[in-house]
Structure formats: C-alpha cells, structure tokens
C-alpha cells in the first residue's frame, strides 16, 4: 500500500498540472493577501493632495472654512487652489488652469437662496473621482455644520454630543463567558466561508482526480497488471491516501504562502484597519476544519473511487459521477444558506447527514453554538459512514476493475459481485 501511495504522490506532485495549479493559486493568494495594502497605497495616491481650483473671491467664508478643514487633517486629500478670473470668464480661466495641469478639477458654486447654502459642482476629467468628491463633501458638510453652530450658539458639550457618532455594538449570546463581537462574528463568517469553499473544492477536485485516474488506469488496461500485482483494496486506499497527501501538500503550500504574506509588516496594519484580526480565530476551529476535511475527503474519495472503477472509458465518467457531484453540491449550498441562518432546523438536521455534515457541522461549529454532544454525534455518524461506504466502495472497486464494456447497472454489479465472490 505504501508503494502505491508513494507512487501516486510522486507522480501527482511531479505532474505539470499540479505544479502549475499550485504556483498559480499561490500567486493569486499572495496578490489577495497584499491587496488591502496595495489598495491603501492606491487610495493615498502619491500622498500628495489633489489640487482643486476655484475662482478666487467667490463664497470666501465657505472656501476659508474648507481650507481650515483640510488644514486640520494630517494628510489632506485636497488642496484648494485659487484661480484668478483675470479678463476672461471664470469658467474659461478654470479650464485653462486644468489644461495647464495646475489643478485636477475645479469647484463652481450655484446660488440656492431658499436653502441658504449654495450647491457645489466639482468637475474633473477623471471618470470616477469618488475619493476627492467624498473629501470635498466632508469638508462642505463640516463648513455647513460650523455655520449652523455659530448661529444657534450651542454649548461645547452639546456640540460634542452632536458630532460624536452613535455607538451600537451587536453581540451574539453564547455559552462562553463573553459573546462574539461584531468584528469577531465578521471574522468567523469570513473564515467559515473561506474554509467551506476550501473544503468543498478540496473534496471535489481531489475526489474527481481519483475517479479520473482509476478510470484512466482501466481504459489504458494497465489495471489488468495492477490487480494482479497488488490487492485491489491496498491499491484503492493507497491511491486515496496518496492523493490526499498531494492535496494536503498543495494546501499547506498555499496556506503558508497566504499567511506569510498576511503577516508581512506592511500588510499587518492594512488588514487590521479592515477590522480583520487573525488572533481572534479559535484554534479549535482549525482543528475541526482539518477533521472535517479529512472525514469529508475519505467519504467522498471512496465513492469516487468506486464509481471510477465501474466506468471503462474516461468520457463516460462525468455522467457516472453526477449523483455524487450533486450530493456534494447540495451539501455546499445548504451550507451557503446556513451562513446566514446557522441555527435553522434544516441546517441542524443536515449537520447529522453524512454527506452534508463535513460542510454543515463545521459551519455550525464556526458560526453557531452546537452542544458538544451534537458535534460528537455528527462526527460519529460521519466516521461510521466512512467505514460503511469504504467497505462498500472496496467491494464495488474489487468487482468494477474487472468489468469492461458498458457501464454495469446496479443489478449487474451485484450479480458480478456474487460471481466474483468478493
């Protein structure tokens, strides 16, 4: 069995597709890990504030208020540049300054006597200049508020009260001493979601790989030699474990690449500023993730192997795999649904059904608060079904590898099993 395993692992790891997919995914993950940092850098632009022009002399109180607002900021997004109208019209002078590159955009004001505050138009050549627009909006809001404050004469405390944003903290009630804060919940949902996708992809991709390889061995007839060299059971489990190791290795490489890049100094602050903190991740969650990955993998892999063994030609494999694929997809979609409602009865029931539980039981652990016995029961059912399906798959495999030609029906398969005395 170790020989089969080592052979499977070696060939997989050396195959071009494996190397390429690992490399490409690693690069993608590294990019994703560094994305917040890059975005932040881009946001800041070159660090220089955007020069925005206005016609000198219009609405001096508003312009001064804005200048005061930007002056208070450490890294202001906008620098106001007065443009003298000179002889020509104001609009033309601003356009001239824009074309000359002195300013990136300009402000014009339209009177609104009934409101008491002009409407402001910011014009620039950039298509989507949101950040500058936002900065200008904040500045204008602040100027307006200041104007009102001066008129109604509020006390300092009232002012402070008005300007302080409302603090609303949403917490989840669990058996643990303190509930998960909103930030923790966000991380939990994000992490659970990420691990669910990883679980699903790992199970499906490696499972399909196993089925494909077994069918390929059959269709290339190398199977005839293999089954006469080593017991089919050893062969099947050797292949399953070998592929698992290849998958784990790939995942380890990817996760390491991702984490190393996340913890790079420049990324740390960027990620924390997004409200993601890695240290709030419960290490038990990772342990559960690993357990359900392994369990789910073995459950599906044995089925995939069994199906691969009864199909003689690779072209027919996809069709034969459809039921299992649908089963796993159903599990995955129920899990997606459960992201929002981890405690709905459907999710709870499904967390005990073997083919769904790898996804759904894990999700409940990550998001909800299942009792210990629920986790234990779910795991026990899962393990028992691995043994049961492993046994069944081994029987099917033993028979299937010898059957060539048309894909056998269930009845034919049972008949053949009896005939072969497996």
């Amino acid at each position: 069995m170790w020989t089969v395993m080592a052979f499977t692992l070696r060939n997989k790891v050396r195959s071009k597709s494996y190397i390429w997919s690992t490399a490409i995914m690693a690069i993608l993950l590294i990019v994703v890990a560094n994305l917040p940092y890059f975005l932040e850098r881009l946001d800041r632009g070159s660090g220089e504030p955007t020069p925005v022009g206005y016609v000198a002399g219009v609405y001096p109180d508003i312009v001064q208020g804005m200048e005061a607002f930007f002056a208070k900021q450490e890294e202001p997004d906008v620098r106001l540049v007065p443009v003298s109208a000179g002889g020509s019209s104001a609009e033309a002078a601003l356009r001239q300054a824009l074309d000359a590159g002195e300013i990136k955009g300009y402000l014009t004001f339209v009177d609104r006597p009934q409101v008491g505050f002009p409407s402001v138009i910011y014009q620039s050549k950039a298509l989507m200049d949101h950040s500058t627009g936002e900065a200008l909006r904040y500045a204008l809001e602040s100027v307006k508020t200041e104007m009102v404050f001066q008129r109604v004469q509020l006390s300092e405390t009232d002012r402070a009260l008005l300007s302080t944003p409302v603090s609303l903290d949403v917490r989840q009630i669990t058996d643990d001493a303190d509930g998960k804060t909103a930030a923790e919940q966000g991380v939990a949902i994000g992490l659970t979601y990420a691990i669910l996708i990883l679980l699903f992809m790992a199970v499906m991709i490696t499972g399909q790989l196993i089925a494909t390889e077994i069918t390929a061995e059959k269709s290339s007839r190398v199977m005839e030699i293999l089954v006469t060299s080593v017991a089919p059971l050893k062969q099947m489990f050797g292949k399953i474990i070998g592929t698992l190791l290849a998958g784990l290795l790939q995942m380890a490489i990817l996760v390491t690449a991702f984490l190393v890049n996340l913890t790079l100094p420049q990324n740390k602050s960027a990620i924390e500023s997004l409200g993601i903190r890695l240290d709030v991740i419960d290490p038990m969650l990772i342990v559960y993730a690993l357990f359900f990955y392994l369990a789910g993998y073995f459950l599906y892999a044995t089925l995939f192997a069994a199906i691969g063994s009864i199909v003689s030609r690779t072209e027919e494999l996809g069709q034969a795999l459809t039921p299992v694929t649908l089963l796993s997809l159903a599990g995955f979609y129920i899990a997606m649904f459960g992201l929002q409602n981890p405690d709905s009865p459907v999710v709870v029931v499904c967390s005990f059904i073997p083919f769904f539980s790898p996804f759904i039981a894990f999700e409940r652990i990550g998001l909800g608060d299942p009792a210990a016995w629920e986790i234990a029961l779910s795991a026990a059912i899962l393990l028992a079904s691995i043994v049961a399906f492993g046994w069944l798959a081994a029987k099917i495999y033993r028979t299937g590898v010898l059957l060539y030609g048309k894909r056998p029906s269930v009845k034919e398969l049972i008949k053949a099993m009896k005939a072969y005395k497996v």
Binding site: F7, N11, V222, T228, V230, L402, A416, A419
Partner: protein, 325 residues
C-alpha cells in the same frame, strides 16, 4: 483428472499428475477441476491441468472458450465456484501474487509515464526493492537493445516496443509462474523471434509458463502439453506428440519426376490434389500410404514421399469443429 475432458471424454489423457507424483514433487501450478459460472452461464467447466517447472503449457481455444476466465482464476482475480488452484502445493493467497507474472492480452501501461518509473513501480508492487527492479529493468532493456527507452514515455514508443516494455513488466520480478495471453500478437516477425527466444530461455531457467494463443505454429514450437478448450469444456488434453499420434496420419505428400496416373483410383485414397511439384493425397489409413508409394514408383522416379502428421491447426479445427453441431 481421468474425466477431465468432460462429457465428450474421447480424448482424455492419462493423468500426468501420477507420473509427477512418482517423483514426490508437486508441480508449481496445479489446476484441479475448476468450475466457474457467471449467472446461469458456465464459463469454465471442470478444467484440470498441471504445469511443471520449466514447461510451457498451451491453453488453446476459440474466442470465448473460457481461456481468459481460466487465466483470471489462476491469477486469483476470481475464485472458482468449485475445484482449486494450487501454487507450489499451496492455495491462493496474496503472497502468490508475487511469484506470478501476467502479460494480459489487452496491453496497457501508463501512457504518460516514463518507462523506468512504471516498470520499477510494478516491480515494487510485487515486492522488489527499487534498486533491484531498476537493475533488472536495465538488464532487460539491454537484452532487447532498447536501452535508450529508459527515460522515454510509453506513449512515445512504437507499438512493438510498447509490447516489449509490457513483456518486461510481466517478468521484471522473475516470476515462477508466468501467464502469457497472446504474447506475440501485433509483433513483427523479427520481434516474435526475439520474444520467442526469451520465453524459451525463461522456460529453461525453470519458469512455469501458461501460454494462450490462437497461433498454432507457436504452440507446436513452444509447448509440450496443451489443453484445447471449446465452449467452456476442455476437449483435448495431453502432450502434443500423444495428441498427434491419436489423430490418424491421413496426408501424403508426393513429389515425382514425371506424372503419376490413376492415383485417385487406388483403394483407400480419398482425394488427390495436383500441386506445383507433385501431389497431396488424403488417405483413409497409414497402410494405404505404401500402396501409393508403390503405385508411383511403378510409373516414375519418386523425389519425395512423406506421410505427414496432422498439424495442430487441423487437430484444433477438428476438435473444435466436431463439437459444433
């Protein structure tokens, strides 16, 4: 063994086992009264034979006669419904796998893998060490003069060379029992000779070989004993010499200086065929042959006169054909 040939029973061979047991040694491969049914269809019906060390045993039969099922039972892929297969006196176990080599009729290797990788893997699967398998592989490649294929992928090789690699895969672990299913099909004459010589050499080294084919000339050249199967039943068993002796010699080849008249009028002559250099006659019995010779000598000088023994091909067709009612 006495009723091994089943209901037909005419061509039963005296049991070879008794003669062997006299030596006190058990043959490496003993197939004893095996029966295999698939549903209500019987694939092999009471087949028995033994293969001695250093013997090539011929398993003949038309397509669907039960050869592959027999070989699969010997390989332990399927268990007989009754009867047994013994390997050096022991029943089947996974250890026996290691001393068996198999060249399946449907050839197959990993097309994308290098020759060295897969042959060494197959050797390892049968319990060899890596180094051992590698050494053997190099020896074999050298022997077939295809050393440069060591690092090539199988799909890059010609069909004939793939066959050679396949053959190496079957013998890499020096099996004691070797099962060759249509070993020479699809090979050019040069390579057939090469593989034939190799098979003979393996035989001389003491390997027990079960050899299945439709090609009678190979069987005549290689095998000592044969079984002809027809529709799941063994219809003819024994050594080729015995079998031939049991079939009357009914063919006479006559090459003469001039023409011979009136051959077809001789009593006991069934047919006369005029050939390029002489005549080929079918006769009723061996004693008629002398009459033919005398008759010919009376007319002209005889260059060649031969009482031909039946070819295995003729015997096969006769044995199988007789059963097709």
């Amino acid at each position: 063994m006495a009723n091994a040939a089943g209901s037909g029973g005419r061509e039963t061979v005296p049991g070879r086992r008794t003669s062997r047991e006299g030596n006190g040694s058990m043959n490496p491969l003993v197939v004893d009264q095996v029966v295999k049914r698939f549903g209500d269809k019987t694939a092999v019906n009471g087949l028995s034979f033994e293969v001695a060390a250093g013997e090539i045993y011929g398993l003949l039969g038309a397509n669907g006669a039960g050869k592959t099922t027999t070989m699969r039972m010997i390989l332990g892929l399927i268990m007989p419904d009754s009867g047994r297969v013994l390997y050096e006196g022991k029943p089947y176990s996974s250890e026996q796998l290691r001393m068996m080599g198999y060249l399946p009729e449907e050839r197959g290797l990993y097309p994308k893998l290098r020759v060295s990788d897969q042959i060494i893997y197959l050797g390892q699967l049968r319990g060899m060490s890596r180094a051992d398998a590698d050494r053997n592989l190099r020896d074999w490649l050298k022997r077939f003069q295809i050393e440069e294929y060591y690092n090539m992928k199988v799909e890059e090789l010609s069909k004939g060379n793939q066959q050679k690699i396949q053959f190496i895969a079957a013998v890499i672990h020096r099996p004691k029992i070797l099962i060759l299913d249509e070993a020479f099909s699809g090979l050019d004459p040069v390579n057939v000779e090469l593989l034939k010589a190799t098979v003979k050499e393996l035989r001389d080294q003491g390997t027990s070989i079960v050899f299945s084919t439709h090609r009678m000339e190979h069987v005549e050249e290689l095998c000592r004993n044969i079984t002809i199967m027809h529709r799941s039943n063994p219809v003819l068993q024994g050594s080729i010499r015995d079998i031939k002796r049991r079939f009357p010699q009914e063919r006479v080849v006559l090459v003469t200086e001039g023409e011979v008249q009136g051959l077809d009028r001789l009593p006991g002559v069934r047919s006369v065929q005029r050939q390029e250099a002489g005549y080929e006659l079918r006769i009723e019995g061996e004693d008629v042959a002398q009459d033919v010779l005398r008759h010919a000598m009376a007319q002209t000088a005889v260059r060649r006169f031969e009482l031909m023994e039946p070819t295995l091909n003729e015997i096969f067709i006769k044995a199988v054909g007789e059963r097709v009612e």
